[in-house]
């Protein structure tokens, strides 16, 4: 049985007929064609598939696409600042928060969700709030620096405005 799915993906309206058992991550990757969101496990282990649903960081592998009817989904492809990297992305680039890059889209979206809720988290908060995202390259050291870089960037941007 297919159901009607009407939602916003990265600000664009989409209307699709989807099976009830279709995962949001498979919908994004295979139906919409946005392959930036990655799959790293067999369900709920690694956080690589993190996207924002109505502004909150969620595992898209634990979400059925059909449950997103009427909602707004944001993926890594939505980020950017006038064609250049967003503050969080810049933090990941300049501080080497990404090595192999496979956990990066989920990691960046988790950071995006965190900073929208709490624009100035301390290190402890970053660690706890992002703890469901796994990275095997960095030991997390430089990911924390990347998020802290973004916090400072966004703060000085706000002050300038």
């Amino acid at each position: 049985m297919k159901s009607y799915l009407s939602l916003q993906v990265n600000g664009r309206q989409r209307d699709d007929a989807v099976s009830g058992n279709l995962l949001l991550v498979d919908y994004l990757r295979e139906v919409v064609g946005l392959t930036g969101t990655k799959i790293g496990c067999d369900g709920g282990e690694c956080g690589l598939c993190t996207v924002l649903i109505d502004g909150k960081a969620q595992h898209s592998c634990l979400t059925l696409a059909a449950t997103c009817n009427g909602k707004s989904v944001e993926t890594i492809e939505s980020l950017g600042d006038g064609g250049r990297l967003s503050a969080i992305q810049r933090g990941f680039h300049e501080k080497l928060g990404a090595q192999c890059g496979f956990c990066t889209p989920g990691m960046v979206m988790a950071a995006e969700g965190l900073l929208r809720e709490n624009p100035e988290p301390d290190e402890e908060t970053i660690r706890t709030e992002m703890a469901s995202n796994i990275c095997r390259c960095t030991g997390y050291v430089k990911i924390i620096e990347a998020v802290q870089f973004a916090v400072e960037e966004l703060k000085s941007k706000k002050e300038a405005a």
Binding site: K38, T104, R136, I144
Partner: protein
Amino acid sequence: MDGNGTPPSPVKSIGVPLPMVDGPEKISGRAQYTSDFYDPSALAGAIKRSTVAHARILNVDTSAAEALHGVHAVITGSETDEGHGVLPISRTELPIAHDKVRYRGEPVAAVAADSIEIAIKACGLIKVEYDELPAYFTAEEALSEDAIDLHDHREGNIERHVEFEIGDPDEGFAEADLVHETEYHCAEVCQVQTEPHAAYAEYDGERDELTVRASTQVPYYVHLMLSKILKMPKSKIRVIKPYIGGGFGCRTEALNVEMITAMLARRAKGTVRTVISREDTFITHRGRQEQTVKIRMGMAKDGRVTAVDCKTIQRGGAHSGYGIVTILYAGSMLFAIYDLHHVRYDGKRVLTNTPPCGAFRGHGTVNTRHAFENAMDEMAEKLGLDPFEVRRINLIKELGFTASDQWINSYGLPECLDVVERASGWRDRIGNLPPGKGLGLGCSHYISGASKPVNWTGEPHATINLKLDFDGSVVILTGASEIGQGSNTILVQCVAEVLGIDPSRVKVVDADSRVTPKDNGSYSSRVTYMVGNAAIEAANNLKGVLMEAAARKFEVSPEDVECLGEVYRAGTQDEGMTFEEVVMAALEGTGTITVKGNFDTLPESWGGKKYRGAAIGGTMAFSYAAQVVEVTVDPNTAEITVDKVWVAHDCGKALNPLTVEGQIQGSVWMGMGQALTEETAYHDGLLISGNMLDYRVPTFVDSPPIETHIVESNDPHGPFGAKEAGEASLAGFLPALTSAVANAMGVRVHELPVTPDRLLQLLEDKEREMRAATAAE
């Protein structure tokens, strides 16, 4: 020349913390990994796996699967009789088991179908009849006298038994003031790179040609194995390495995933995409083996190690993989870190009915280093010596050859020790810490590329092509595998530095067998050292071409041309020519320019002939690391918190301090996983830890700050003096952790991982003993 008349100077690229050149692609989601390739016509591949650990295959009935609507190809072990493997002498593993299965999860058939759901359903319809055989899940069981052989050509289930004696160990022990024996056990661990294995194979039936994309660290070994398995000429195969989500060694040999996908594509006469699950990625394995290490060490009163006797047994799993190499490294890498002269080694690699092990980061060295460093600390304690003192008195006195004929040309370990001693405040803090807190030290080392390749063909170790064309960009064509370690960035920096140009002018095209020069791949920390040197040679050759072109225009001899990177000039007052003008001059009459650079190891680095296999352990340069780990142990639960790590790594010249730091931190952290939580677990050969939660990958909240120091010993043969940065810092964490726990609690855990239950048991034993002793008084 600027308005002030200052000439432009060549751009500095080396030693600069340049963010990765492919960072923006990865961070924006644009980077395409193997599983990101979709095509509406692509079929889904699925692998049917053995449900038993050891059995003869009596029959595989695929008829129901083949009859299922939407199934395009079903293959079994009869698809190929060619085996694969690392060394030419041990290519006995079949991509799909044929007459025998040797571990639970070994492929027994595979399907290509319209959808993954149909492919999985078809796998379920394949009936395999097994005649079960006795199965052995530990090295001890496989070595028992009545055990049957897993492989006919490996009697007694011994994949390789390595024995050597260097110097005179008996004399060394006689010289010792203290002789001590100790044993350590290390659990099997897996790389758990975040990207599950994937392959995407396109078969062109018209031309009988194959294009394969695969999540591999060694695209050219994959090419070689595909040709062998499929019995196709190499010229009809093209292998492309897309972006790779890490590897840490599990992808340093061709894996059954890519071979099976290629066979399915040919059979289905189309395109097949296979992405295996996390659980199956664990089962494909190639991780670090379970291992017991027994060390008998002789020590003089002052801490000098007079003799070492090391006996080790590795549970290698069901196939050879890198096994022979691993068991040789475990012996040879006893050397080249301290000044050792009398060493006896006995290492056995055992075949068991568990998934095959392989070359995990720190390949071969980690578990023996763990036992060795712990043995030193145990003896230091008995002799009343400080751990730093014991390391220092055993430092190598002069550069040159070790007793095992390994070649040491640079040695930054002394400085690494000084740095972490100072940074951690060791002198003031050791012995004065509050209860439950402890500090521990560990040292480790690694090779910068194996000086002999596993496939000896007579080709150079590394080749780089540089292409220069009308657009003024320099394109690096390299077969080297960027897998996230930043090798493309390092190559850009090497080329930009030689030419003095802005690194943004240098672009990379990598790892496509149709386009790029062959490269052995990313393993044994070879890329920066070997491919970096080749890149420097190529860039120097290109610079020569540009100097000549400029000289022609200036009507001077090339020696009189000055290269300022973006400007070339003939005299100091001369305005000169821009880089782009020189490029156009160089193209006159010849068109697009391609130059090449090679790298080969020097024969002195090939390792000795003192025992069979002594070449394993030979390298042009050893890297070194020292680290101090601080822990807090909860006295009630024995839960261990790593408060902080101070690490110093001698990587020669740090070509890119940013990526070097990233490599060091990743290594330390991966060592922490092995030391504290990670362990694969099997029940009768069935993997029961096949996910990141049960396997216990450390998260943000389990991970300590890692204060990272770079020590630059500048290797005489390294690219700009560089050595490896991505492996040596792993092994030292393990002994530093057990020593820190011993410092905190007075007990040393001899089994890895150091879980709270293991530690609590020792603490309770100790308390019971103390109570008994008090009662006896």
